[in-house]
């Protein structure tokens, strides 16, 4: 692999201006009153995520974990090539429904975010938003070598190379592209983890929130959303 090229330096100076509708401004109301608006502060809630405790009783938590493991709802959000391998899971041949796996259309009802391939910076922004809107406990699965170390997009100017820098990943499935069988095996593995009580990605995210945010902001230059979207 080529070493870092010394002659080319990326531009780190230029700043992206905030989108116009997000800039702080003063609005004059019809009755002549002046109102200061800072959309990022006023329109969104700025509270960082909380670490959620487990139930007090071990047995209750175990029961909950069992239910969570057997009712994995996937957010129907596809990135990269891998999204195409998720569709066969619904067909008679693979039929993921029998394991309690379902696809949900909104992040609010999903527990599992499958990052199904390379993430460009633009998509990463959406993926982060979607992840943060999911109710905890939530899980992230990275599919394919692109999410692990960049895969064949290792030298691309616009895709991230290591997903766990930006989101707390519970499980990777290797392959380019992982077959649906591999996906099913991954789901089974994830179920085992959840049942053992190791699926605490959301809490990990909340604990290391600043680190994750710093990483995310280092690649997403036009950060035009609140720090935590929910």
């Amino acid at each position: 692999m080529k070493d870092v090229d010394k002659s080319f330096r990326k531009d780190t100076e230029t700043e992206i201006p905030l989108r116009e509708e997000l800039q702080p401004r003063t609005v004059t109301a019809p009755d002549g009153q002046k109102i200061e608006i800072d959309p990022l502060q006023d329109y969104f809630c700025q509270e960082p995520p909380k670490v959620h405790k487990q139930s007090y009783l071990k047995i209750v938590e175990d029961f909950y974990n069992w239910a969570r493991a057997n009712s994995l709802w996937i957010l129907g959000f596809g990135t990269g090539c891998g999204a195409i391998e998720m569709r066969p899971l619904m067909t008679p041949r693979f039929d993921a429904y029998r394991y309690g796996i379902q696809w949900r259309p909104t992040p609010r009802q999903a527990n599992l975010l499958v990052i199904s391939g390379y993430l460009s910076v633009k998509t990463l922004k959406r993926a982060i938003r979607a992840y943060e809107q999911m109710p905890s406990p939530k899980y992230v699965m990275g599919l394919g070598s692109c999410t692990i170390n960049g895969g064949m997009y290792w030298d691309s100017y616009n895709t991230i190379k290591k997903l766990d820098e930006y989101l707390p990943v519970d499980l990777y499935i290797a392959g380019c592209m992982p077959r649906p069988e591999a996906l099913l095996a991954g789901f089974m593995e994830l179920k085992k983890k959840i049942r053992k009580g190791e699926g605490e990605g959301a809490n990990k995210y909340a604990e290391n929130f600043d680190w994750y945010k710093a990483n995310q902001k280092s690649v997403i230059k036009d950060w035009d959303m609140p720090d935590y979207n929910w």
């Binding site: 692999m1 870092v4 080319f8 990326k10 910076v121 991230i160 190379k161 290591k162």
Partner: protein
Amino acid sequence: MMRDLYDHMKTRYRLGDLTEQRANLAFVDVAQDELRALLVELRDVHGFTHLVLLTAVDWIEEGRFQLTYMVNNRTANLTLGLRVYLDRKSPVGNTIHDLWPTAATYQRELREMFGISFPGSPRVDEEFILEGWTDMPPYRRDFDTLAYSQQTYAERGGRETHDPRDHMQKKLYPEGRP
């Protein structure tokens, strides 16, 4: 067919040589100021109604960009590529979004990826697929994408790359080539 058309047009336009790739595919260099007239005539008189693509090539050694307008005549199954050269220092193309509305999208992409501007094209200065891009346009050849990605994105260690040819040679003939 192509040859006839070329000879017919040659009398009135400053055209370069005709490069015939196949019987129904040919390329020709045209002058930038005549491009529009030529496209209109091809579209309205000679039946080249479909704009297949509009793309650019960065000839960094020669200091110029090449724009390729590919138009297609469906009934006669002919494809003609018109090549226009722009100065690399200040590349300004002529917008043709009023001839083919799809061209506006191509021009937006070229603006973002190569930094070629097309004054008058709708929404040409808005972001197209990159968001918050601050560096030089990434398809220019002096943009080093590997260096950029190494300076920007976190990497996971332990990555190995094999040249497929060497790898297979070593595997098949471990003692060197027979």
